[in-house]
């Protein structure tokens, strides 16, 4: 595999919080690659550094050491102006709490990244309609978030994360605030997106059910990757789910008991 083919490279990422005498090594040398079209999951016990890892990739926090390369470019060393250009356009985000602006309609929320980056709306019209019908939110485009259900909100948020056709979508527990049914619908949609359009997705989740939609899962503990699961070709989701549970059980069980 040549270097060019890798979408994202995480190289020996370290992140320390706190000062010398009271230091927390949230990430302690994490390295992995993401290939285009992958649906990568990250799992691990609470406090293992999952969010920190995602935030480093999302350029929300700066790593103490190590690099994050997107298309070979070290985005962790970008200044704020370059970052603003990347955020929302090359990187899409999906949050546990949706992070929709509650004084904008669904459509306005979805289009927000485009307007921020000064993209002409005419060009996005088709894309908007496409995403809206894919996520089944056409009817609620003109509603305000307060008038939507949680699942609808998250699907609007998902449409927003995809509107600018980013290279990668980062999702931190996107199903965390959803009930099982809504979570399943969302994961189906994300998986569909990944399958049909080859969208690359990096998702952090506690939920083995959600994680079972991924094509590969990294398990981290105490700031290091300690295991990796790959979904075999033609492996059913149920089987993959069982394998995930087994790994989680090895981890000390905490998270597996959630279900």
């Amino acid at each position: 595999m040549t270097r060019q083919e890798k979408l994202l490279e995480v190289q020996d990422l370290q992140k320390n919080f706190g000062k010398k005498d009271n230091i927390t090594k949230a990430l302690n040398g994490v390295s992995f690659d993401i290939l285009p079209g992958e649906f990568l999951g990250i799992m691990g016990p609470s406090g293992s550094g999952k969010t920190t890892l995602l935030n480093c990739i999302a350029t929300i926090i700066k790593p103490t050491a190590g690099r994050v390369l997107l298309h070979g470019k070290n985005i962790s060393a970008f200044d704020s102006k370059d970052l603003a250009e990347y955020r929302g356009s090359r990187i899409g985000y999906l949050f546990q709490d949706f992070a929709l602006l509650d004084n904008l309609t669904g459509q306005e929320n979805i289009l927000l990244p485009l307007s921020i980056h000064g993209v002409d709306f005419a060009k996005a019209r088709v894309k908007l309609d496409e995403l809206a019908s894919f996520f089944e939110i056409t009817d609620i485009l003109h509603k305000f978030p307060s008038q939507m259900s949680g699942g609808q909100k998250q699907r609007v948020a998902a449409a927003r994360s995809l509107i600018s056709d980013p290279d990668i979508v980062l999702a931190d527990e996107p199903t965390g605030a959803l009930d099982t049914r809504s979570a399943k619908i969302l994961m189906n949609k994300l998986e569909g997106m990944n399958r049909s359009s080859g969208k690359t997705i990096l998702m952090v989740s506690h939920d083995p059910n959600a994680a079972s939609f991924c094509s590969r899962i990294l398990f981290i503990q105490d700031g290091v990757i300690f295991h990796e699961l790959r979904r075999k070709q033609d492996e059913s989701r149920e089987k993959f789910y069982d394998r995930i549970l087994k790994v989680l059980a090895q981890l000390g069980g905490g998270s597996a008991n959630v279900l």
């Binding site: 969010t51 955020r87 459509q107 990244p113 307007s115 921020i116 305000f144 307060s146």
Partner: protein, 721 residues
């Protein structure tokens, strides 16, 4: 430890919340200014001449003070509420950590006291400084160099300022503290803006806006065309309608605006435009009533400030001596007064000494038909001519007998005023001997009248008739000249035809107002003797301060010296100083209070707008975090925020400008305020407009900076779940 916390919190709230602190300081300063009014140079000066009126004015000041106290109480309540809301999370935490509520409230009270003390120090310093500046400016501007300057610092004003301010601060904190006391910890920790997005129905919005526009329209119509009906009672109706209309308009506008935003959505998505509009809409729609109230306050403040400013502008024209000629008028025994005024010590101050004799004309000896004595004067021809000269609508009214009574006004046609005056006066007119009036004419450098034995001249008081031109009365002169040419006689006295001399220059007869007459006949001296009703005879000695002395020392100084001399002489006298003082008093009384209340309204409106904006900013701070996650730069967010500030201030301001323009127009046309074209008009109007705009800009900038600070502070804090 506890006191350290109080001190640190008080310090912090001062630094972090400049607007809150500035509001407190403004409140203190405005209390001080109104309370120290009695120490202003102009007021001290006026006390010498118009002590009664000044006392009355000063006795009114406690009312203004109470009014200001009440207004600022609401402002302070609002400001404190804003401040507490900001910190509700912090309080929630204190309580979570086991602090008792009593203790928290106690701590708040202590912090409030600390902040109050700082606000008092700052406010009194600023207030004293402003009072000093106002005192100096006013005495320079209107005092013509005779008003001396004294430091205006007033201890009693300071004391009452402190008492008043602490009082309202205390009440505000008691109310808010009580509310805090009754809140659940959870409420404190997670207090959020009510998230409901009530967009209303399109129809409802249209109806709101329409109702608003109709109400405003009716209010404008009343103000413009029915200003004085029902003794001005309609004005209150207009005010009420205007307020209601503004509220409806804002309510409808806020929501409709959102619909407009959603209609335009998609057409142009450049930058944060949609976001900006939505933020603005939320601010207006959710707070439509208070936006409307600020709009009303701004309207009132613009009207009041214009009114106050126009009084100041009018001062110049009131004080320029167009018709007033003499500086002193002395009353008393003929010979003794003359002796005194020509004595050695007075001579340097006396020029154009002239005796004014005046008295009423006798009636016919025999009684008329009724009980009222009949007049010697027959002016029916002149009356006829004046009626012919009237504008046609008045002519009809008069001839059909519809018109009853006259009002003399500067708005009236000249002929109407003359008719009105003569109708009352001509029965037993005042008589002035030609020799008296010649002395006056000589003083202004005009030729003597040299009346024939059967000739008179008509005198009209230029002050009471509001004459534009003192040298001519166009309508009257035309009638008189025509009669002269055609040999027609317009008047007879005791059956003898009399000709009337046209184009007599008119001036004030005395220095101030010992002779308040509308009209008089200037008659040859023999005729004066012949027709005078001796019971009504009075005489005055008039004189002026010599021009040379005025050139050397200015008018005021020699005038004050002459006044002192006359005062010691024991004669009754009046001087132009009284006239000046009275005019000055009207200006001061009229402008001080209106300007004060006007600026108070303005500041309150601005503060409410500012705090409201910052509250929204604080409560929706998370949105900016999301925006930055989606790639918005700080610059973009700040641009959006600046636009929001601009819109938030411009919306109430624009409606206020329209309403105020209507109000001012009405006040001009009904001469509540008189805008005369004079040299002062533009600089003063400009200065006031600048001050108002400056206040807006200062608030706008302060809000932008605070909000910018909030944006700078935003850090995306990863949730540690």
């Amino acid at each position: 430890m506890f006191s350290r916390l109080i001190y640190r919190n008080a310090n912090r709230s001062r630094k972090e919340n400049l607007i809150y602190f500035a509001t407190l300081v403004t409140a203190v300063a405005s209390f001080y200014i109104i309370l120290s009014l009695g120490r202003q140079d102009v007021i001290l000066f006026l006390k010498e001449f118009e002590s009664d009126a000044i006392d009355k004015l000063l006795s009114l000041m406690p009312l203004v003070y109470l009014f200001a106290l009440l207004l600022l109480f609401f402002l302070i309540l609002f400001a404190n509420q804003y401040q507490l809301n900001r910190r509700s999370k912090e309080f929630g935490l204190y309580l979570m950590l086991g602090m008792r509520k009593e203790r928290l409230v106690l701590q708040l009270a202590a912090e409030g006291l600390m902040t109050s003390i700082f606000a008092l120090i700052g406010g009194i310093l600023i207030g004293a400084f402003l009072a000093e500046i106002i005192s100096l400016t006013v005495s320079k501007l209107v005092g013509q160099g005779i008003i001396g300057h004294q430091i205006s610092l007033s201890v009693s004003a300071i004391i009452f300022t402190i008492i008043g301010f602490l009082f309202i601060q205390l009440i505000a904190l008691v109310i808010l503290g009580g509310r805090l006391f009754n809140q659940e910890v959870h409420q404190l920790l997670y207090e959020q803006m009510d998230k409901k997005q009530d967009m209303g129905h399109f129809k409802g919005n249209i109806i709101h806006i329409l109702v608003g526009i109709v109400l405003l329209g009716v209010a404008y119509w009343i103000v413009l065309y029915r200003f004085m009906d029902f003794a001005g009672l309609l004005l209150f109706v207009a005010l009420a309608l205007g307020c209601l209309g503004t509220i409806f308009f804002m309510r409808g506008f806020g929501k409709l605006f959102g619909l407009l935003a959603s209609l335009s959505e998609g057409k142009s998505t450049k930058g944060l435009r949609t976001f900006t509009l939505r933020q603005f809409q939320e601010n207006v729609a959710n707070k439509s009533t208070s936006v409307a109230v600020t709009s009303i306050l701004i309207t009132l403040s613009i009207i009041l400030i214009t009114n106050g400013a126009s009084t100041i502008i009018g001062f110049d024209s009131a004080i320029t001596r167009t018709s007033s000629l003499y500086d002193f008028t002395v009353h008393g025994d003929h010979q003794k007064v003359e002796q005194f005024l020509t004595s050695e010590k007075m001579v340097p101050y006396v020029e154009d000494l002239n005796l004014l004799e005046i008295g009423k004309m006798k009636y016919k000896d025999e009684q008329g038909d009724g009980n009222s004595p009949s007049s010697l004067v027959d002016w029916s021809e002149l009356r006829e001519q004046l009626i012919m000269a009237l504008p046609s609508d008045y002519k009809e009214q008069l001839l059909s007998g519809e018109m009853q009574g006259y009002t003399i006004s500067s708005e009236n046609h000249e002929a109407l005023n003359l008719l009105g005056v003569l109708e009352i006066d001509a029965k037993a007119p005042y008589l002035i001997p030609e020799s008296s009036y010649n002395g006056l004419l000589k003083a202004i450098g005009e030729k003597s009248l040299n009346l024939h034995a059967d000739e008179i001249a008509l005198y009209f008081n230029p002050d009471l008739l509001h004459m534009d031109n003192l040298e001519r009365m166009p309508v009257l002169d035309r009638i008189l000249e025509k009669a002269e040419k055609e040999g027609q006689s317009l008047m007879s006295i005791q059956g003898q035809t009399i000709s009337i001399r046209p184009s007599t220059p008119m001036r004030g007869l005395v220095a101030d107002r010992s002779v308040e007459i509308h009209s008089a006949f200037i008659v040859p001296d023999p005729m004066f003797e012949q027709f005078l009703n001796t019971e009504t005879y009075v005489s005055y000695w008039n004189f002026r301060i010599p021009q040379k002395l005025q050139d050397e020392q200015g008018l005021m100084k020699p005038m004050m010296e002459a006044r002192d001399l006359l005062q010691s002489s024991g004669f009754q006298f009046e001087s132009y100083l009284q006239n000046f003082g009275r005019q000055l008093f009207y200006v001061v009384a009229g402008s001080y209070t209106t300007l004060y209340v006007g600026f108070l309204f303005l500041i309150i409106a601005c503060t409410v707008l500012a705090l409201q904006f910052l509250t929204q900013m604080k409560q929706t701070g998370q949105r900016y975090v999301t925006l930055s996650m989606l790639g918005a730069t700080r610059k973009q967010m700040k641009t959006s925020m600046h636009r929001q500030v601009l819109l938030a201030f411009l919306l109430p301001m624009s409606l206020a400008c329209v309403s105020a323009a209507v109000g001012i127009k009405a006040m001009i046309s009904f001469v509540v305020i008189r805008i005369e074209d004079n040299a002062f008009l533009y600089p003063i109007a400009f200065a006031f407009a600048c001050v108002v705009i400056l206040i807006f800009v200062i608030y706008g900038v302060a809000v932008s900076r605070s909000a910018g600070h909030e944006i700078d502070k935003l850090r995306w804090k990863p949730n540690i779940d």
